[in-house]
Amino acid sequence: MTNVKDYIRQDKLPHIWCPGCGDGTIAGAMIRAIDACGLTKDNTALITGIGCSARFNNIMDFHTFQTAHGRALSYATGFKMMKPEMDVLVATGDGDCAGIGGNHLIHTARRNIDLTVVMINNQIYGMTGGQYSPMTPYPSIASTAQYSTFEYPFDVCELVKAAGGTYVARSTTYHINLTQKLIENAIRHKGFSFVEVISQCPTNFGKRNKMGSPYDMLMKQKEMSVTVEQAKDMSPEELEGKIVIGELVNRTDRKPFDEVYQDMVRKALAKKGEKL
């Protein structure tokens, strides 16, 4: 097993996440995936936005950068364009990526920039005090919905697929080995790779919705999950309230934006008789 501690800033531990939060488990899976792909600390960048997911850059020992709320993908785009040889990962939350940064997500996916995005979907704005997010299931209690939410969440993986993302996958913190494998595939994939990881927020989501201990929340994820293969034989009614896990999209027919751009720069310079 990879020694996860080699990639962690141990002086920053214990981290600030609540007891039972899925973020730490996902950070571990991410580190194991990065190690399995053979990425080095010096050649890897981790960009985060704001929220609980933003604390990834505090504990993980890579080139890290915490950016404005919802804008992690925009900063990562700039980073990748400037340093195309580096592997750029983005850790973001559901409120950060699908809520506040929704438009950035659409256009980064459309451009097919070679980024690996891990969206931690804890189904709530956790750090800011439990406001409901666009991913909060209907109906649930949140600090801004004391009786119940009255809107439906949307399927962010379908959105990325429609926008042109070339690798889309979903997993949960219960299926942590699958999460690691999907992140590995996402890092190896050339182009925009998006992995949604359903996580548990025991403090701001679980407690209000009487979902029990962090362990009970993980078991609930297990009950709700169906694999992509199983989902093929199920009707939309049967899939209601289920989490479809596995690789949803994996296409190689589109070149990544940064490659196309570099080709263009080379072509333009060649016209002038110069080299990159």
Partner: protein
């Protein structure tokens, strides 16, 4: 000969969420009165590594004793 395992717990990092206690197949772990993890039946450990894999706080490590 059966393998034996040693569990290293970083008590300062443990927040006592109880995920490892739930996943342990041999009931080796318990949350002590101080709200931290305690290894109560170390001899029962089979080294499956579930606690280390799932701990959100990087607080537990399984080592095989040679």
């Amino acid at each position: 000969m059966a393998k034996t395992f040693k569990l290293h717990v970083q008590e300062a990092w443990c927040k006592g969420c109880g995920i490892c206690v739930g996943f342990c197949p041999k009931k080796v772990l318990e949350i002590a009165v101080n709200g931290k993890l305690s290894v109560v039946r170390p001899e029962e450990c089979v080294g499956c590594g579930q606690c280390q894999l799932r701990c959100p706080d990087f607080a537990i490590e399984v080592e095989e004793v040679k």
